[in-house]
Subunit: 524 residues, 2 copies
Amino acid sequence: MSSSLLMRLSTRGITAHPLSSSFRSVVISRNFSFKKNGNTKERVVILGSGWAGYSIARTLDPEKYERVVISPRPYFVFTPLLASTSVGTLEFRTILEPIRRLPGKIEFYQGWADDINFNSKSVKVETNAAEEAASKTVVPPPGGQITVKAKGDIIDIAYDKLVIACGAYSQTFGIQGVREHAHFLRDIGDARRIRLRVLSLFEQCSYPRGSDHLTDDDKRDLLHFAVVGGGPTGIEWAAELHDLIHDDLGRIYPQLLPFVKITVYDVAPKVLPMFDQALATYAMEHFGRQGIEVKTEHHLQRIRLRDGLLGNRHGALSIKIEEYGDKEIGAGMVVWSTGLMANPLISKLASKSHTIFPHSSIPTNPKSGETAVNRHLLVDPRTGGLMTDGQLRAQTVTDDESKQKGFMDDVFVIGDCAVIEGNPLPKTAQVAAQQAQFLAKQLNKAGEGSKMEAEFKFRNWGTLTYLGGWKAIHQSKADELKGWVAWVVWRGAYLTRSMSWRNKALVPFYWIISWIFGRGISRF
Amino acid sequence: MSSSLLMRLSTRGITAHPLSSSFRSVVISRNFSFKKNGNTKERVVILGSGWAGYSIARTLDPEKYERVVISPRPYFVFTPLLASTSVGTLEFRTILEPIRRLPGKIEFYQGWADDINFNSKSVKVETNAAEEAASKTVVPPPGGQITVKAKGDIIDIAYDKLVIACGAYSQTFGIQGVREHAHFLRDIGDARRIRLRVLSLFEQCSYPRGSDHLTDDDKRDLLHFAVVGGGPTGIEWAAELHDLIHDDLGRIYPQLLPFVKITVYDVAPKVLPMFDQALATYAMEHFGRQGIEVKTEHHLQRIRLRDGLLGNRHGALSIKIEEYGDKEIGAGMVVWSTGLMANPLISKLASKSHTIFPHSSIPTNPKSGETAVNRHLLVDPRTGGLMTDGQLRAQTVTDDESKQKGFMDDVFVIGDCAVIEGNPLPKTAQVAAQQAQFLAKQLNKAGEGSKMEAEFKFRNWGTLTYLGGWKAIHQSKADELKGWVAWVVWRGAYLTRSMSWRNKALVPFYWIISWIFGRGISRF
């Protein structure tokens, strides 16, 4: 082996997140930890690889715990830059962090957690590695239940401690056609499909007249980009799309620019509700100058494929909006970014009775003679999420008439699928990541005798939304910022905190490359 | 508009290929050029965007000619690095050059040239922008004819001069199952599918035992990578795969390494026939040390999907090889890289009679009273390619008994679909690119009074093949090189000559990133 290769091998270990400083405390933790199969480390199984799941996997000390991650996708997506990849400013892979590349020993199984047995302490997983990674946002049909075809093998994964961090699904409110025809923007596959569709629409409208050529009205319909939902995701995507068209596609297809239109629809009277009025107004005025229309108090009722060739060949859509009566709006694509709902695993767990020992972290062997008590998981009636106490432990209630409340001290719920009793928080990356950090630190400290924080406290770092054309708005308790400096500083800090060195190098490099040479415009 | 943006706009024009120095000769060329629709520039239509089509589009002077490119894919693929992208050393997009980003005005229509009318001087094109770009290698079914469903619109594109550069198809020799189950490696979509498949196979073999777990023999079958064809493409892919497994996957799935096997099959008694015996032996010894098996004089007879779950769920294959009798070999994937055949457009043009005026570059108006003569295109009986003279003009032969030979001086054939009469050349990127350069320079000089080169002459720059583990072999008339210096120098020179600045920056950056941090291993 050459010395250069040896050097490379040693540098391969470089990562953004040094191991916890407490890794010398193995002996202490041995005294504490529950031993399984003669192994000295507790086995922490984490369901999910989003902000919550990835953050805890990254922060949990591999010297103290056996880390096992189960997720339908083998990577974490840095979602704040997802819209950037969907328009080609960044390459898809630059915002992915493979779970298997986390430093320290880690087990990963690609699959859907299908059920949990809190008694035998195991998770039933349907494997999905045989397919392309399930990188598409899955949306339940109007009826509600998703019936996943059992394509994969079923495996059982045992745990000592379980962290449920499997997130939430996109909410379609049962609106007809959303599931079939709208684009979501939550996973990397979504971003890829959006990019292909945008570029394909321009290509399709660029042909000279043929035997069934597109009229100018057809082009106007196909190049109408509709965004449903005026939260940060929808607004940012509209802004990024505007940049792509203004900076790149406008040069390549100048004759098509007069046909392009971007519209954001929202049911609320105001978009960007998390920003104060002055910033939201600034954003809307900026959008106005860029030609992006924002239609508040508009209710989408149906999306359908257009009849005839326009629908069949070009995938043109018709959108029905309550306020417009029977007159439908044409569009080439609809990007859906509004609302979340409980995911099927959570619904399944919530719906049934579980045999759970009163203190499940104390030996759970059924032969020990303890009487099992049947319990339900406590569920937040509004969101369908699982209720936790301030230490993020899953709460339960007995099935008998006493309705006695309790918790499992070996099962934690964090992120979008969790609701802290008495402390409702927004379903954001910040909340998920902070919960994961809190829990990981608690677990790392366990048995060291150091004082634990009693309760999880959310610290709001503020919100940033990109508005296109190098403008952004940022709001937190401390300050308010506008302009591109805010964007670079804030996003840069975020990036530094969450990404590997690989992507810390690649993302700024792509920013420069795209700025100088334009965005990537090839479809494949 | 900010000054930084203006700066960016001006730098956007940076490219690897300055415009031809002869762009001040417009007036002279006006006297010469055939005028169409009052336009002073001749309209050169180029079919294809591979080495031949892209090179001529890039070299042809946009001040002198209206350039029109028709291709089913909107980009050029830098094929020498395709194997590198298929294992994640490079990102796919770094080896693509979008046709629409060529400097100077250029028209591009995405579609398949379906037919040519040499009399009215127009090309019938079936558009295909509505689908994902047709980035998959298309292989005809055993019967021979491809029936492409008419999904796209049909448009007619007029030309003054036509350059047929649409390449050749992969040859499957009618072997059962190749078309359905083998992976090709000719376009970027092929590379993407190969990458997904390789990574998915490792992921599939990594699960713990489940209800229908894989046995060690199953894993041995699934992790057997078979390569058919011992030319540079097949050998390089085997080498790149070895590097991926050795450098990256071996760290992530160490328990699977004992099951991995790579085998190269070839019907000939020797692989890499273009290298002399010493270099080929060096290559085979190097492969031997890396554990890659090379089986010469082996004839593949059939590929089929395995029966049962192994085939259905995991896509395992069975390969029948003549030399092994009825005993079939298991494999997770087969990469096919052997042989070319005429593409359907060429076969169609070759099979029928065309009405072609004797000197088609002189006015072709049917009303001029000239008597049209029915002719066939002259075809190379061995490869099915179109025959040209030394100036790369398409040759014809009259349909009458006189069998009078002639040529069209407004129709040129270059690259893999062309055969120069009396000067057979290998179907390689070098030949295609040199023919394109020759032809573009001839056309750029036309009418300037400068002396034209009478005949195309191929200059062999030598051949390089990467062998894995930083080793390569290079051979030309002048020298023979081994080792990694050869690789860097030679490939670097190639890169410099063919790629845009964007990719000239990205490719070395990715080499460094992959070298330090490992290859990209996320599937999506």
